[in-house]
């Protein structure tokens, strides 16, 4: 069976005053129906840019490589130019929960009006139906007084309510693919658990595919089937959630797990991965992580080995440099 979504060899570059920034390099990912792919990684590693590429939402200074493909439902999204086609990936087959809740609600239009409008564009229903679907969705994400919140502006809601309203809006059109960019970061853990359960139910019910971007490894453990770990625009490791969290191979993945504050050991110091992220303007050649890696060997360090994922356990892929250096270090 073909995948719901398949991203092949994607590069994303931005032209800026200071030169060309490589935000994403040679990424390949796939998502099946009913599956949740988690993406974790350093701030600035290209998670949001990858997700936005699937909806072609990156700004005008963006360029994609010629041989990249983003296949959704057997069509290459990167070839889409007509309004009709773009509509399919922007709210039709694909919806996105954005990392910036304020950005996705127009400040001067009430939340409810925006939800209704979005539904009218993508579904063949009337205003009253759209209103009742919207209010029902607001209730399902745990918003009290949904009828009243429907009539409020985004700035009048707390951060977490805004985020839930956005989740409700993204789910209300029942897309085939949901792109959820840090959807639960503004929520307290009890509501987070509730929203995660809701998203899981809806995935089951509608066989939706989901890309779930979060830096919260606990949330990843709770929702994801597969995980991809990104660093400076590259996927350095990917595989089934259990493998990645319990048997991580790449030094960056290990570093992330070690940096996690442990509530059962409050005396342990918080230990970030040492060093600074290089600027995307000068990405290291060879292994992107080598400037901060505790196990670099001269070969990795000189950047002679090109990055390439190899399979170390069934379905568990690691950057080949990572394994070689890991063994030598």
């Amino acid at each position: 069976m073909s995948h719901l979504l398949e991203v092949k060899n994607l590069d994303v570059k931005f032209d800026t005053d200071e030169g060309r920034i490589t935000a994403v390099e040679n990424i390949s990912l796939s998502v099946d129906q009913g599956e949740v792919l988690g993406i974790v990684g350093e701030s600035g590693s290209g998670k949001s840019v990858t997700a936005k590429s699937i909806m072609k939402l990156n700004p005008g200074n963006t360029s994609y490589n010629e041989d990249a493909e983003i296949i959704l439902d057997n069509e290459n999204v990167l070839q889409f130019t007509s309004k009709q086609d773009l509509k399919k990936i922007r709210g039709g087959k694909v919806s996105m929960i954005f990392q910036e809740p304020m950005a996705s609600f127009a400040p001067a239009i009430k939340i409810g009006a925006q939800m209704v409008e979005q539904l009218l564009i993508h579904k063949n229903i009337n205003k009253d139906e759209a209103k009742s679907i919207s209010i029902n969705m607001l209730k399902r994400v745990g918003i009290a007084d949904a009828e009243k919140r429907f009539n409020q502006y985004a700035f009048e809601l707390s951060g977490g309510m805004r985020q839930r309203a956005m989740i409700a809006m993204a789910l209300s059109t029942m897309p085939k693919l949901l792109l959820a960019d840090e959807p639960t970061t503004a929520l307290d853990v009890t509501i987070q658990a509730q929203v995660i359960n809701l998203i899981k139910d809806i995935i089951k019910e509608y066989q939706m595919g989901v890309i779930f971007i979060t830096h919260d490894l606990g949330v990843i453990a709770q929702v994801a089937d597969h995980v991809a770990v990104m660093y400076l625009g590259s996927v350095v490791e990917k595989g089934p959630v259990n493998e990645i969290l319990k048997n991580p191979k790449h030094p960056y993945t290990k570093g992330l797990l070690q940096a996690l504050p442990d509530i059962n050991n409050l005396d342990a110091p918080l230990s970030p991965i040492p060093g600074n992220i290089p600027s995307p303007l000068d990405r290291p050649t060879g292994c992107v992580f080598r400037t901060r890696c505790p196990h670099h060997n001269p070969e990795g360090k000189d950047g002679k080995i090109e990055m390439k994922l190899i399979e170390v356990e069934p379905g568990h892929w690691v950057d080949q440099c990572g394994i070689q250096c890991g063994q030598n270090g």
């Binding site: 920034i21 701030s43 949001s48 009243k148 951060g159 009890t190 453990a221 992330l256 504050p261 509530i263």
Partner: protein, 328 residues
């Protein structure tokens, strides 16, 4: 007053809500009768339900939200500031001393300003520096402390990831050398490594610059690690408050217990061990009488059900306060 920097006394904040022009005005009870003291040099944590009033309380302490009743006193070295009673000059001085790191870095940063200008703005608006050179020095200094590259300073915020933007807002808040910082979900957008890094930075700056923090966060593991004292909010009320280790080890209130049990486990094989909260989430427009958590409490007592006991904190261990409904 002694070792406290801030006293919050019986503070309530309400917002008006009106469905349409003809309907009756209602009140959103965002913050209800809150009393807290924040010690100088402490890391005071505020956790709780989303929509429970944490941001509103933080903003009220900064003088950015109107206080409907009660008062907030800022005890500076030489004098006290009563936030409910400040003239223009006082307000100007107070702005230098108390700063906010925003919850939503996207909304907080003006898209038309370079990062350098965004960070420099407080210095210029408050006329803290005397020359462009001095401003630049301070901007570069704080940017480096917040791990922003010098080359980042010339760019516009849209070119940054969420985490990078958050570091810009932190630099902006710290550039004026404030004494008190409200950090509202300041590390929520950061990956765990940078989060650890920023938390270490905040801790380090705390001792170096003698800072006091009100730290609002949903991440209980983070709060447990950095905060000395924690208050738990639910629907406009503080339901429990105490030294963080004591509170995390020995939670008394049913909501605190539910919160702690909901921390997602890093083990994929341990899914859903949370105490699941059912029942209607009450509304701040129409809070239930008695214990506000009653509609969702997994194990309410007989008394709580009737809602006869009014809310209020009572001390169960030295410094550990719990809502009296839940203790009786």
């Amino acid at each position: 007053m002694g070792d406290n920097l801030i006293s919050v006394n019986n503070v309530s904040v309400n917002f008006d809500y009106q469905e349409n022009f003809i309907s009756k005005k209602q009140k959103i009870h965002a913050v209800n009768n809150i009393n807290i003291k924040i010690k100088k040099g402490s890391f005071f944590g505020l956790v709780g339900e989303s929509g429970s009033g944490k941001t509103t309380l933080g903003r009220a302490i900064l003088g950015a939200n109107k206080i409907s009743s009660g008062n907030v006193i800022f005890h500076d070295d030489e004098r006290d500031y009563d936030l409910t009673n400040m003239n223009k000059q006082d307000l100007k001085e107070y702005r230098k001393k108390a700063q906010l790191i925003f919850q939503d870095p996207y909304a907080a940063l003006s898209p038309r300003m370079t990062v350098r200008d965004i960070i420099a703005e407080p210095l210029e608006v408050m006329k803290i520096t005397n020359s462009r050179q001095e401003t630049d020095e301070r901007v570069r200094d704080i940017a480096a402390k917040c791990r922003l590259n010098i080359e980042h300073l010339r760019r516009f915020p849209h070119a940054f990831s969420g985490g990078q933007r958050q570091r810009i807002s932190i630099a902006r808040a710290l550039v004026s050398n404030p004494k008190f910082i409200v950090a509202d979900e300041s590390v929520a957008a950061l990956d765990v490594s940078i989060q650890a890094d920023i938390l270490n930075l905040l801790k380090h700056l705390q001792s170096e610059l003698n800072l006091t923090y009100l730290f609002i966060s949903h991440d209980l593991s983070v709060v447990a690690h950095v905060c000395d004292v924690v208050a738990v909010m639910y629907l406009g009320h503080i339901v429990e408050m105490g030294p963080s280790r004591e509170l995390f080890k020995n939670p008394k209130h049913s909501y605190t217990k539910a919160l702690l049990s909901s921390i997602p486990s890093i083990d994929p094989e341990k899914r859903s061990e949370a105490i699941e909260l059912k029942g209607e989430i009450p509304s701040a427009l129409n809070p239930p009488p008695g214990c506000v958590f009653r509609t969702r409490c997994p194990n309410p007592g007989i008394d709580c059900k009737g809602g006869e006991i009014t809310m209020g904190l009572t001390e169960v261990e030295p410094g550990h306060w719990v809502d009296q409904c839940c203790v009786l």
